[in-house]
Symmetry: C2
Subunit: 409 residues, 2 copies
């Protein structure tokens, strides 16, 4: 068995930035992406931000021959945006929606409406069981004052946990997606250390593309230059991560990113650069012990750091909940006061100078709207508080288990 | 190794019906449950509907000695109500929230606010890796016209998928909880056939308790007798299911339910009967092939039946979404009309008989509230439609994979 030739897997990953009516040159770019996928004949193409199912269907129609198997993960109001095209049969799929994903009232950001999630696909390639994960985490809109950091850390933790719990039967684990985290961020360290996934950029034998493997670069005509000002080379937020389990070992032979435009074209595929990894999967001579038994020494620190971020988020969420509760009570008091005034005027206890009816009605309109919105937001932030508390407790349990393991080593 | 003595596991399962201010004799019953758990010294106690964390803390404090390990799963607005007490260390936990769980506006039912979920606990017992699942599915309020059936079928499908995907590394799988499904319902058949889990009532060697293993019986003083009228013996909706994987085989030696009151007491633990299973876990001489390779012949029919229910739910959800969209448009039109009338009166184009200002304002208040609510509900039902479409698509893929497997057998 050890003489089986190694399996070569070519994996393509791209955040397509395909928002109907908003993304520039969407149709041309979707056409271009389809053409490239068709010509290149990758083994797997992991796409994010394909928000419109019509775009997915267009791609699917074009790619039936080179990629007979595909899947679109539905979730949220406008769909998860996640889809996968595969040369090999997809045996099973499973979707995990992150418990926290921004705020519905942040309409200008809109992440909440996408129902951000991680999709799992079970794909058997030449007898090797591959668990392929595709995801897209909450965006970072302001690095200095990142209100979404706790949510993203929770997402990274849930992603790590989901991968660990669902990959026990796999030979090879692959994760591709826009993680919206820089390589040194706490979330990505947590994900890598918890799961043992390797970063194709850090481990590749050959690399070609943007400096430091960046995937959001100033050279791309669609990127917002002001946002990239603190990072002259750009930032790396799109990843292909992998690991081999038990009898298999995976290496990254080469990694290629586009460099601001699609190869041979004048426009890029997207505002993100595409990442293509060529992985080599080899059967190991001796089965490796399950990764669950080895503990990275720095893991305790990373989980602690992540837990601190979750706690910060918890305080903010509790404060928001409190504010909304107070606002709801004030609006309710105002309505009750108005009701009392209305009733008193009905029974003839009119004050000498009655409140003008029109302003009175407008005020009650405002109070009702505020009451309704505050109540909905109170419920929303209560769910947020619960989930942050739950994650914090889970991390505490994980730390305890880690420390027990380390002390028994 | 085959000479290892078999492991005996005593598992207790109970829906505690512990809603603060609403459930009768809550504090007495929680005290009683704590006393029983303490005296009996089960290996695992899987509890549902412990809605108040104060009740959980009270139980935890009382049970520290016999059950040093415990976990409460937080989710939704009021918590998932799920908790577990264990004699053995809990190594890891993971929560999966069902994507569909009723409607927030059905306040009288309230399931939506609980964030119904399945909790996974990884527990190592005498070297045997046990994956313990505890869950509580959406209630059935009217069996003849069950508006929640599609949601419950989706929950059963997600539960089955979650168990299948997360139990690959387990030796023993245990599921306990209030599934809110009768033994012959499509959801429970789907769950059992998809996962290969065995029903402790159907397979037990000795049974003691209510006839047919019922767990909601007229003899219980807290049950609503009218609801049980079509079922004179009661109904069975609380289950302990199990299976052994690879090297292990699990049998149910005995199953006991309470019969309307707690043993030796005048009141019951809850409106549900408690279920206690004594399981025997034995090492198998030869490892069994992974259950993934065997296909139950009736599974295709069950998945088809479930898919039909999901489709029915999809039509209903699409209709709801359409109604809410239409209502939002009407409210918006009314508001625009009022704005135009208001503007026209401001610029002096007053009609000879102006609309009374007070009614005018009341009408705009009503239109604004309707617009807001309809918009929120439109978004909510759009998410519902997406999730039902996604599940339907997943089931289609599963059917295809099943048929491929069956044809290759």
């Amino acid at each position: 068995m050890d003489t089986d030739p190694p399996l070569q897997l070519r994996v393509f990953d791209l955040n397509c930035w395909a928002i109907r009516y908003l993304s520039k040159l969407r149709q041309e770019r979707i056409g271009l992406i389809g053409d490239t996928l068709s010509q290149e004949g990758f083994d797997l193409a992991l796409l994010q931000e394909v928000w419109s199912e019509r775009d997915y269907c267009e791609l699917k129609q074009k790619l039936t021959a080179p990629y007979p198997y595909s899947h679109y993960f539905k979730s949220g109001v406008i769909g998860s945006g996640l889809c996968v095209f595969s040369r090999y049969p997809i045996l099973d799929t499973f979707l995990y929606q992150y418990s926290l994903n921004g705020y519905p009232y942040m309409l200008q950001h809109g992440d909440w409406f996408c129902g951000k999630a991680v999709g799992l696909l079970v794909i058997k390639i030449c007898g090797i069981m591959c668990h392929v994960y595709v995801t897209h985490l909450h965006a970072e809109y302001c690095r200095d004052k990142d209100a979404y950091l706790p949510h993203r850390v929770v997402q990274a933790w849930e992603l790590a946990q989901f991968i660990q719990h669902t990959s026990k039967g796999a030979d090879v684990v692959l994760l591709g997606g826009d993680l919206n985290m820089h390589p040194g961020d706490v979330g990505i360290r947590l994900l890598r250390d918890w799961t043992g996934l390797r970063d194709s950029f850090a481990d590749t034998e050959r690399f070609e593309g943007c400096e430091d493997g960046c995937t959001l670069v100033p050279a791309n005509c669609f990127t917002v230059k002001e946002e990239l000002q603190p990072f002259p080379l750009g930032i790396r937020i799109d990843y292909i991560l992998y690991k081999g389990l038990s009898h298999f070992v995976v290496k990254c032979d080469s990694l290629v990113t586009t460099t601001g435009t699609a190869p041979g074209k004048s426009i890029p595929y997207s505002d993100h650069e595409a990442v293509t990894a060529t992985l080599c999967v080899k059967r190991r001579e001796e089965a490796k012990a399950s990764s669950g038994s080895a503990v990275e020494p720095g893991l305790v620190d990373v989980v602690n750091e992540a837990r601190t971020e979750v706690r910060v988020g918890l305080h903010a969420a509790e404060h928001q909940r409190y504010s909304n509760g107070r606002m709801a009570i004030l609006a309710l008091l105002l309505l009750l006061l108005q009701a009392a005034m209305g009733l008193s005027s009905l029974v003839g206890w009119d004050s000498p100078q009655p409140f003008p009816k029109f302003s009175f009605s407008l005020l009650s309109l405002l109070a009702t709207v505020v009451l309704l919105l505050s109540m909905v937001l109170y419920v929303f932030h209560t769910i947020e508080v619960r989930m942050l508390q739950g994650t914090e407790e889970q991390m505490r349990l994980a730390l305890q288990a880690l420390q027990d393991k380390l002390s028994s080593m």
